[in-house]
């Protein structure tokens, strides 16, 4: 889960970059950038959950 989360963050960022480079209309750019941010946040959530201090006080 940790590695998946870690990889999803740059994957979302590449979506954002792709939106900038490949798309021309404002609406399409906004949609893809929003999707990219969504992927990043999902990765961040996964990564955070993987680090969550389990009941018992340790990882």
């Amino acid at each position: 889960m940790k590695i998946t989360g870690l990889l999803m963050m740059p994957a979302g960022w590449f979506l954002v970059l792709a939106a900038l480079v490949l798309l021309r209309t404002y609406v399409a750019q906004v949609s893809f950038i929003a999707a990219g941010i969504g992927v990043e946040i999902l990765g961040l959530v996964l990564f955070t959950r993987a680090h969550w201090v389990a009941k018992g006080g340790s990882e």
Binding site: M9, G12, W13, Y26, I33, W52, G57
Partner: protein, 446 residues
């Protein structure tokens, strides 16, 4: 590739800029005092010693490679052409500041300001990882931050890089705007702090066997609050120098920068004190101090662009945010961050970056003296969002990976058994207050 240089500065502007840069060490002192006051007395000397060491390590690493890779508009950089647009991604200067004329020019002033402000970014993770971060490891981690991560991102924002040119390349407003360093200093430092909290884990006794957080209060609230006051002139200098050097605003506008910085801090501390008074019955000094610094962190991005009323609003929101996120991260995410650095600098900084996008007309007036169209106004917010996406999608995993590798070779955490005696005894051999403190776990229930 050589990006377009900013206009030259008059001698008066240079003198003013040097004055602002010389205020910067006050921000370092303030942050060091806040970190020390929020840690326990058994690690107080270690906290101050680590602050000195990381500022030294940051300046040295930045001197060696940092400025060469960060670059500055007008200096050479590595770039690539993607679908007809030029993407500058790394400075191509000489190491050891060779070729930088230290003569009061824009470039030399930028180098001086960055040598100090990279230390500010390096102090942020120190507060989050307090009491359990080895001295040698924090110096090495800081060297990675100052030599690689910080200059790379700072090049994109301040060195004529692709984020700065989102406006000219893709029509996104005026490109990513960050006059005083909400992104380059505060969020980069805050995300590094988050990385260290993840890698080091919580302090011994912070969480019960059931995962409930306990209180491990800082040892000196006076240090913390005095540190806040000390940080204010430092931040005014940081924001003013950044606005002159990186946003290219005229010198007269630094008055607005100082007013905005103060108002953002004022709004933030009042919001934090009011909310904690409402929630807990009495204002919480530690969270109010966090609110103050959060307001400063949020003020940096838009300090040269937004009107004073907007700066006050930015501060109010930053102060309110920090009171909730500190508790949420501790209780719900299991993040043991004694100084609240992740909430203060990362969350506050991100809010400050996005707030610039809420006032695109003000930014356009400050930088171009011209009105901008409606799509361009929306584009400014999009440019700010792309900057935040870069911080979360690139800087955070990159910093984590670097520190994870470092941790494999040089374990960064003080052995948990030694934490009982404190980092002072383990690392320095003597405590900060040898005659007054008994080393007991009086606040730890587990």
């Amino acid at each position: 590739m050589i990006p377009q240089p900013l206009s030259t500065m008059s001698e008066n502007s240079e003198a003013l800029c040097i004055l602002f840069i010389l205020l910067l060490p006050l921000a370092l002192a303030g942050l060091a005092l806040i970190n020390t006051g929020l840690s326990r007395s058994r690690s107080a000397a270690h906290s101050m010693m680590a602050a000195l060491c990381v500022v030294g390590a940051a300046a040295t690493a930045y001197f060696v490679t940092g400025f060469a890779w960060q670059g500055y508009p007008g200096l050479v950089s590595h770039s690539m052409i993607i679908f007809g647009k030029e993407w500058s991604w790394l400075g191509a200067g000489h190491f050891f500041l060779r070729g930088v004329p230290l003569d009061g020019s824009r470039v030399s002033l930028a180098a001086l300001a960055q040598l100090i402000s990279v230390g500010l970014a390096a102090l942020i993770p120190l507060g989050a990882a307090a009491e359990r971060w080895r001295l040698r490891a924090c110096c090495l981690s800081t060297a990675l931050l100052a030599a690689i991560t910080y200059p790379l991102f700072a090049h994109w924002v301040w060195g004529g890089g692709w984020l700065e040119r989102l406006g000219s390349n893709y029509g996104l407003g005026l490109g990513f705007l960050d006059a005083g360093g909400s992104a380059t200093i505060q969020v980069v430092g805050g995300l590094t702090a988050l990385t260290m909290v993840w890698l080091l884990g919580p302090r011994r006794g912070k969480y019960s066997p059931e995962g409930m957080p306990g209180a491990l209060p800082g040892h000196n609230t006076v240090y913390v609050l005095f540190g806040c006051l000390l940080a204010l002139p430092g931040w005014m200098g940081l924001n003013a120098a950044g606005s002159l050097l990186f946003a290219g605003v005229p010198p007269g506008r630094t008055v607005l920068v100082a007013v905005n910085t103060l108002l953002a801090a004022a709004g933030a501390v009042l919001a934090a004190a009011s909310i904690t008074r409402y929630r807990f019955g009495k204002p919480d000094a530690s969270l109010s101090a966090n609110g103050w610094v959060s307001g400063l962190a949020a003020s940096s991005a838009g300090c040269a662009f937004v009107p004073p009323a907007a700066a006050l609003l930015i501060g109010l929101v930053a102060g309110a945010l920090v009171t909730y996120t500190v508790a949420w991260m501790e209780a719900r995410l299991g993040l043991d961050d004694p100084a609240g650095a992740v909430s203060v600098h990362a969350v506050g900084g991100i809010w400050g970056i996005l707030a610039v996008g809420l006032f695109p007309r003000a930014a356009a007036t400050a930088l171009t003296s011209a009105a901008i169209s409606a799509p361009m106004q929306g584009g400014q917010m999009l440019a700010q969002i792309v900057g935040v996406a870069t911080l979360l999608g690139f800087v955070l995993p990159f910093t984590y990976s670097l520190n994870w590798i470092l941790n494999r070779f040089f374990p960064q955490r003080i052995p948990p058994e030694e934490e009982r005696h404190g980092a002072d005894l383990y690392e320095l051999g003597a405590g900060a207050y040898p005659e007054f403190v008994t080393h007991t776990d009086e606040f730890s229930q587990w």
